[in-house]
């Protein structure tokens, strides 16, 4: 066991964990942040996507020790002051989910997408989300949600 210190959703935490612990296990078990899901365990489905130092990564294939000293954002950390993040609102209003299993990873990937490319078009979004698999909605409304969030964020910047 060893102490791993990192920032999770803005809060500094120190967790005693075995060196072999995966980041997703650290989040879900000792930290009880179960919004980060494990789908495939093999880096394919993207439901475990979180932001590490602002960039999307798959938490099921990253050792927790490799996250020491970083800043991690999970789905629980997106809402601010009781208000949903614009991407969460867009997924809600565009019906960008059905069973919801892929949604946390999908939303964090989408947040990274618009941060890296605030003017992403449909093609960019579809390409970006290649690493996030949804078995229910067929992506149409998910892509719509991301594009609607993009438009809203552009508007609020202008306004």
């Amino acid at each position: 066991m060893g102490a791993i210190t990192l920032k999770v959703n803005g809060k500094q935490v120190t967790v005693d964990a075995a060196p072999r612990t995966l980041l997703v296990e650290l989040l879900r078990e000792p930290l009880q942040l179960t919004g980060t899901h494990v789908g495939c365990d093999t880096s394919q489905c993207g439901s475990c996507t979180v932001l590490v130092d602002g960039r999307s990564i798959k938490a099921c294939t990253m050792l927790a020790v490799e996250a020491a000293g970083t800043e991690v954002t999970t789905i629980e950390g997106l809402a601010q002051g009781g208000r949903l993040h614009p991407m969460q609102e867009a997924f809600q209003s565009c019906h960008g989910l059905q069973c919801g299993f892929c949604t946390p990873g999908m939303i964090l990937s989408a947040v990274d997408c618009l941060k890296q490319n605030p003017t992403a078009d449909e093609r960019d979004v579809r390409e970006w989300l290649e690493g996030n698999i949804c078995r229910c909605t067929g992506y149409h409304n998910i892509v719509k949600a991301v594009l609607s969030c993009r438009d809203r964020m552009a508007q609020s910047k202008e306004g």
């Binding site: 072999r20 093999t42 798959k58 294939t61 050792l63 490799e66 990937s109 290649e130 996030n132």
Partner: protein
């Protein structure tokens, strides 16, 4: 099945010296005997290959040395004669680098087509090389560009031409106390660059998120009607990422007429050694490799 977790150890090195010291201890390079393979430190960077095996219960138990935090292994630097990529350059950093896109576009393309964004944020060029998968997507591009690798241990540093690095399936010229620290790509002269044609094509089951059945990288410099500085390298068609000097020799200095192209396809068919496996068959791979060679050479007519 999940791995039996208690058998794994993992530590993070913060500096190159710290990492090399641990590697040397395991290899018996410092005071003390060499450790059995299971007690030696195995480097792990972004973990996008190793951790998949781990979760599937297929990663050998042992000691893993996390090198992700070693700043000395990061950064892409440009010199007049070459460009150096730190071994920990991620696929994201590679795909976003403007000079690579301009002068080494097959490498850019390989980075774009490797995994998804979240994988590209973690996967590293050095890791892609050291994992030594014959199906990896960046090695054919690196072979085309005459890449060289710098290997460092406490014993010293040495450069190895990448074309000589892989010696057999998952076998390579890296001693157990060495780390790949840098990948160097020599730059062509401005005049040659102007006339250089790059070709990169990955063929898999799907367009995205699929491991290659065949991966083809080629380049040449136009010399009037003739081809010069021809480079051809493929992935997934041999036990190692394969440069194809015999096929290149057919084309070097030649005008790519149909007869020349057919001769090159013939030689390529015997130079590669594809197998039947879960992803494809040797017949399919050979046919596709030969078709991609045709497609590559058709670029000569277009430029």
């Amino acid at each position: 099945m999940r791995a039996y977790l208690p058998e794994y150890e993992a530590v993070s090195a913060r500096t190159l010296v710290e990492a090399l010291t641990l590697l040397a201890q395991g290899a018996g390079g410092l005071d003390g005997p060499a450790q059995p393979p299971g007690r030696r430190w195995q480097p792990i960077a972004g973990g996008t290959d190793l951790m998949v095996l781990f979760s599937a219960g297929k990663l050998p138990a042992g000691r893993y040395l996390d090198i992700w935090g070693i700043e000395e292994l990061r950064g892409i630097t440009v010199a007049p004669s070459h460009i150096d990529l730190g071994a920990l350059s991620t696929f994201t950093q590679v795909r976003q680098h403007p000079l690579l896109a301009c002068e080494f576009s097959s490498l850019t393309q390989a980075a774009i087509e490797s995994g998804a964004i979240a994988i590209q944020n973690r996967g590293t060029l050095g890791g892609n090389i050291a994992n030594a998968s014959p199906a990896a997507d960046s090695p054919p591009a690196l072979l085309c560009y005459d890449a060289e690798l710098e290997l460092v241990s406490l014993r010293g540093a040495r450069w190895v031409p990448y074309a000589e690095f892989h010696t057999g399936y998952k076998q390579m010229q890296r001693a157990s106390d060495e780390l790949i620290v840098r990948i160097r790509l020599p730059r062509l002269s401005a005049v040659e660059r102007e006339r250089q044609v790059h070709y990169y094509r990955k063929v898999g089951t799907r367009k995205a998120q699929a491991i290659s059945k065949v991966c083809f990288a080629g380049s040449f410099v136009r010399d009037g009607e003739r081809l010069s500085r021809v480079r051809i390298a493929l992935g997934s068609v041999a036990p190692i990422p394969l440069r194809c000097p015999r096929t290149e020799a057919v084309l070097e200095g030649a005008v790519p007429t149909s007869a020349v192209i057919a001769a090159a396809q013939e030689v390529l068919g015997s130079e590669i050694a594809p197998i039947d496996d879960i992803r494809s068959t040797q017949d399919y791979r050979r046919t596709v490799a030969q078709n991609l060679l045709f497609d590559f050479l058709a670029q000569a007519a277009l430029h």
